[in-house]
Subunit: 404 residues, 2 copies
């Protein structure tokens, strides 16, 4: 993975302070340790799921689903996988019925993922599905040790796996939360962790990414009042759900009351897919208010050899310049053209991330890169990156309404 | 459709001026007239497509695909449709190969949609597909009268349909661009237009929506420097692609140089789906910078009778408050709880749109409502709502790269 900034940030002291803070933080915040975990227990667990199971269904929402979905949807188009993966993550009845119509419930293993064991969406859906499939062996529960949910699982003799200590939902994709569903589908989870490890080592051991990550974080934090919107413009449809994962990670981590002030702060994430969104959102970036930074993600090699054929269409001869061009080259030329057009504006902060190809290792790297960047920016804008107190108010109101 | 504002706007004069400007504009801008069009030619055209065609594939991007996709994905889960609809809208080779693997090319009719006839994405994909299927009867071209693309279509003896005059891509969903693919799939396009017509008449003939739309547009325009982000928070997965259509409509129409100043202005659209994004983006709205307005869309009746069963889970008895609740009631209670929590903040502009149920008529109404709102806000912030000059720079750079 390569990351090139088209802007600079010269605040060496702030960069050094941020690095020191993160070095300290990594001793207590759980996600930093995930790349080095031993996956043997997960591999063993996977062997306990019968070969007759054709489908894995995650019942979970937010941090319990977005990460695994991002990786599954990235890898699925290029790898023949062992099982299909579905996600129940909405109380929309049409959505529940539609997903159920796609799977054979007798050949499905359900992973019920909830840290607390009282997520409204997860348990309303679980109750409904349990009324259709009451065989406890069809379920595995992923939750905190000794939670009421673990006690329930033991009561019905279902499998239980634990969440690691001190890993919040949106930072949990490289823990059991993401690794279990992905491993069950045949995703290479060791490769995923290896990718994350390369980024971690590069950052903490003075590698090539340390300087870039620090510069980018300091630039984003320092200019957050002007550039309060951070667009991720990924040039591949395979990264659609990665963008959704990024939106949660960035928005929920950085939109907060500051720790040492009375102010609301926040950086607003936007996920875009190229070239499609050149025909949707690009106009706003080019000519709209100067409140957006843009990070482009390019895939260097799509390992797909389809090429625009050498056909001349009468009256449309000007399109012959496309002939004999591989699509993978075209999409990257489109990306380069937009980067050049934005960079020329002079007041839009642009950077590019290039990943070599569509593999588990590369998405693992991208994930850890964004987790580190989020931690750095959170530290710099003085928020608690790892909590989400703002979502409680709605939950309390809902509980009151339900109790009436 | 009902629309309730939780904020007020008392600028009666500005509202009256905006209404006068739109009344004048509707005589020249094409989209305003679409609800009254005669659909007989489209119905006749559809009869020319053989019953053996099982799949319709649109080759088009941006305004040529987003509208039809929004309506198709809204209706599909609740209606048994005649044909499947796919969209080729990316030069990502993995995406092209994946879609092709899902359809039988011999039983597919391709709609190639391009106003200009020189869209790079559309014609690189068309050339590739034409190399696999060179039978001209498998294609219909939708383009401007007398365009080079029409001449090409005549040359190969393929069908041609015309785009109406003076209707830009992002306002074209209720023209041939959206109606043809939808009608071929069995969507009731007359009902769609009827829905749009109710909104149009309500606005122009002093109906209940006139006052609300004007107040909302004036509030958004007047406060655009503070509230520069407009979130659409739709409580149903069926509205996922409607949100994408909204993002193009709003972003590409309103992100511009002002007509009579030197300034870049813009309003940034964000599409959210509830309750999923309560676990992703809500924290940022609740505690982040006060730069976001939020419009909630609720579906009153999902016509789906699934209910949370009356099951008590040992150790999880607190979840019994969910028992016997229909999911359609739960999802709307979740929405109401978030509305209440946001409204309590006092400095987040909130409004709600309630549509009765999932039908063509209701999505037609929602579309026309948003088109009118976009036109009003564009007029008020002094931009040309209907052009997109900012996307040209990247196209010119790409052309140079291709010619090397």
């Amino acid at each position: 993975m390569r990351n090139r900034l088209y802007f600079d940030s010269l605040d060496k002291n702030i960069q050094a302070q941020a690095f020191t803070a993160i070095e300290k933080e990594q001793k207590t915040i759980g996600y930093y340790g995930l790349p080095e975990q031993d996956i043997a227990p997960i591999v063993d667990y996977c062997k306990s799921i019968p070969e007759t199971v054709e489908t894995i269904a995650v019942i979970g929402i937010g941090g319990s689903s977005l990460g695994a979905k991002a990786i599954y949807e990235f890898i699925k188009p290029v790898k023949s996988l062992k099982r299909k993966l579905y996600f129940f993550e909405s109380t929309d009845p049409i959505n529940i019925t539609t997903i159920l119509s796609k799977l054979d419930i007798q050949k499905t293993h359900f992973l019920v993922i909830s840290k607390s064991g009282n997520t409204v969406e997860t348990f309303s859906i679980y109750k409904y599905i349990y009324s259709l499939q009451s065989n406890a062996s069809a379920y595995t529960f992923i939750t905190d040790p000794d939670s009421p949910l673990e006690k329930y699982a033991h009561e019905i003799n279902a499998s239980v796996l634990h969440l690691p200590d001190n890993v919040g939902g949106r930072f949990s994709v490289l823990s059991t939360v993401g690794l279990v569903p992905l491993a069950l589908c045949g995703i290479d989870i060791q490769d995923l962790l290896n990718g994350a490890k390369t980024i971690k080592e590069s950052f903490f051991n003075d590698g090539y990414l340390k300087d870039t990550l620090l510069k980018k974080a300091v630039y984003y934090a320092k200019n957050h009042a002007q550039y309060n919107i951070n667009c991720l413009f990924a040039y591949s449809e395979t990264l659609t759900y990665f963008c959704e994962w990024y939106v949660q990670l960035w928005g929920e981590s950085l939109g907060k009351f500051q720790r040492h002030s009375a102010f609301n702060v926040g950086l607003t994430p936007i996920g875009l897919i190229g070239p499609k969104d050149q025909h949707s959102f690009l106009q706003l970036i080019m000519e709209g208010t100067r409140d957006k930074s843009v990070t482009f993600i390019k895939i260097e090699d799509f390992h797909d050899n389809i090429t625009i054929p050498d056909i001349t269409l009468p009256h449309l001869e000007s399109l012959d310049i496309l002939n004999n061009l591989p699509f993978s080259k075209l999409i990257n030329m489109q990306c380069d053209s937009v980067i050049e057009a934005l960079d020329k504006q002079g007041d839009i902060p642009v950077d590019t991330i290039i990943i070599p190809t569509v593999t588990e290792c590369n998405i693992g790297a991208l994930i850890f890169y964004y987790e580190l960047l989020t931690s750095l920016v959170g530290e710099l804008i003085d928020v608690n990156t790892y909590d989400q107190p703002g979502v409680e108010a709605g939950k309390i109101i809902l509980k009151k309404k339900l109790e009436v």
